[in-house]
């Protein structure tokens, strides 16, 4: 196996990581927003449910969440695809989304708290309902305020995709491990290459969030 085959291996690994990252990004943002909305809603039941979820999952190691999704859900006969690899991919994305959503929700909540009271008061004064106030006035501003901390949550999630390697997923770490198995003489090179790919991905994400911050963030 020469360098070209290795880089092919790594390319497919990087694609696996990105795929996992993108699906979990959409999932965690959606679930996180829902949780944040529940936490500020007028209904105590919803507030309590969201708070409980966030407290419990935030204190659970991601490895456990993934362990549950990968080994627990099949026992409960919950499956997403007939193909085994695809199924593992959905399990891992679900675990990542469910875990990261807590941090997204907490970040958004701090963003909601940072929005001047007058905004919500004005929205209510012109007769908007709770749902309208939240979705038209408060959340858009909250998202724009929390772009920098949201960026670190998202970058942490990118790094967390590595844990999926242990649960039958093809991504960078599993590519690295099979690379090391094949080319035992290039261990250090392969390790450094993997680290560099992660760094490049993380730096790229950081750049994107910097751009978003410059375009969108509201300075207070």
């Amino acid at each position: 196996m020469d360098i070209f085959d290795l880089s092919g291996l790594f390319l497919s690994g990087a694609w696996g990581t990105l795929r996992l990252f993108l699906l979990a990004l959409v999932g965690s943002l959606a679930l996180g927003t829902l949780l944040a909305a529940m936490r500020v809603s007028p209904t105590p039941v919803l507030r309590g449910a969201a708070a409980t979820y966030v407290t419990v999952v935030r204190n659970t190691p991601l490895t456990l969440v993934m362990f549950f999704c990968a080994f627990g859900l099949p026992i409960l006969d919950i499956q997403f695809a007939s193909d085994r690899g695809l199924n593992s991919f959905f399990y891992a994305s679900l675990a990542l989304s469910a875990y990261t959503a807590c941090f997204v929700a907490e970040t958004l909540r701090s963003g909601i708290a940072a929005i001047p009271v007058g905004q919500a008061e004005a929205a209510r004064a012109i007769g908007l309902s709770f749902r309208q106030t939240l979705s038209l006035i408060v959340l858009p501003q909250a998202f724009r305020t929390v772009i920098p901390p949201l960026g670190s949550v998202v970058i942490a999630m990118l790094k967390n995709t590595s844990i999926a390697s242990a649960f039958n997923n093809r991504e960078l770490i599993s590519a690295m491990r099979s690379g090391i198995e094949i080319r035992g003489d290039m261990v250090i090179t392969i390790l450094i290459a993997t680290a560099l790919i992660y760094l490049v991905l993380a730096l790229g994400l950081g750049r994107i969030f910097d751009l978003l911050e410059r375009k969108l963030v509201i300075l207070r």
Binding site: P42, P61, L64, F67, L76, I78, L134, V187
Partner: protein, 266 residues
């Protein structure tokens, strides 16, 4: 949890109160249905039968779980001590006024902070070979990553100490090392202690990665028991409860420190 919610909706009138009750009941029913669905799924898969749960009354199983918890705490404790040392050292290196010290330190710090902990653990595992073993692979991996994060926290703490402190310390003739060690660092550590303890929760959570490199921690024991007794889900629930409890205790300690700090400041 008070300010934002109070403005998002009015103090409810009679109609809103009735609506609220209705929505409360509806959402409670929805949540109950969700919980019921999960419980039914467990029941359907035979996970609620008594013989899946009786093993936990055996002392052997309890001891195995306890041993796993101890192994987890052990790895986390050693990594905590080392990460604090690495944190202080790298904070000092980055704060150094000599560029040829601070710039390489920054590069090393950003490198270890930017890659997944799991990659660090595997790297130690592969490079160190059999001589290192899973315990030290996990400890070193956790130390490198969390040490760098703690270094940044401590650095921010030192920079947040009012400038007059440093100037006054220098004015009474302390050497730079003394200014740092007896004036700036104690204040920085005190201010940043809640944040540092919160980071230690992250370290404790990440210690579960040890399972992936065959370290026999709590998760590994959960897996072993679950496979041996065919009760993976019940064992998992017990294991997860232990993890959550321990983490919440440490997180609660962080919040306690924060409250105490605010009190002494005010």
């Amino acid at each position: 949890m008070s300010a934002p919610t109070q403005v998002l909706f009015d103090a409810p009138g009679p109609k809103a109160r009735r609506n609220n009750v209705l929505i409360s009941i509806a959402s409670a029913l929805l949540l109950a249905a969700l919980v019921a669905y999960i419980v039914w799924k467990f029941y359907d898969a035979g996970q609620l039968e008594a013989d899946k749960w009786t093993p936990f009354t055996y002392t052997i199983i309890q001891n195995v779980l306890l041993r796993g918890l101890l192994a987890t705490l052990q790895v986390a404790a050693v990594a905590t001590v080392l990460a604090l040392i690495v944190g202080v050292v790298f904070a000092l290196l980055r704060l150094s006024s000599r560029r040829y010290i601070s710039i390489p330190a920054t590069i090393v710090l950003e490198f270890f902070r930017g890659i997944p902990v799991l990659l660090l653990i595997f790297a130690v595992f592969y490079i160190g070979g059999r001589g290192v073993g899973p315990f030290w692979a996990v400890v070193i991996g956790l130390t490198l990553y969390n040490g760098m994060v703690i270094a940044e926290i401590i650095r921010a703490g030192v920079l947040s100490v009012p400038k007059g402190q440093k100037e006054a310390a220098m004015a009474i003739g302390l050497r730079p090392g003394q200014v740092m060690s007896i004036v700036l660092m104690p204040q920085a550590l005190r201010v940043m202690m809640p944040t540092i303890v919160a980071q230690l929760v992250v370290l404790l959570k990440d210690s579960a990665l040890g399972y992936l490199v065959t370290y026999r921690d709590l998760l590994a024991e959960v897996n072993n028991i679950g496979r041996d007794y065919q009760n993976l889900l019940p064992t998992f629930i017990i294991g997860a409860a232990i993890y959550i409890l321990v983490n919440m205790l440490v997180a609660g300690f962080a919040r306690y420190l924060e409250r105490r700090l605010q009190r002494t400041r005010a």
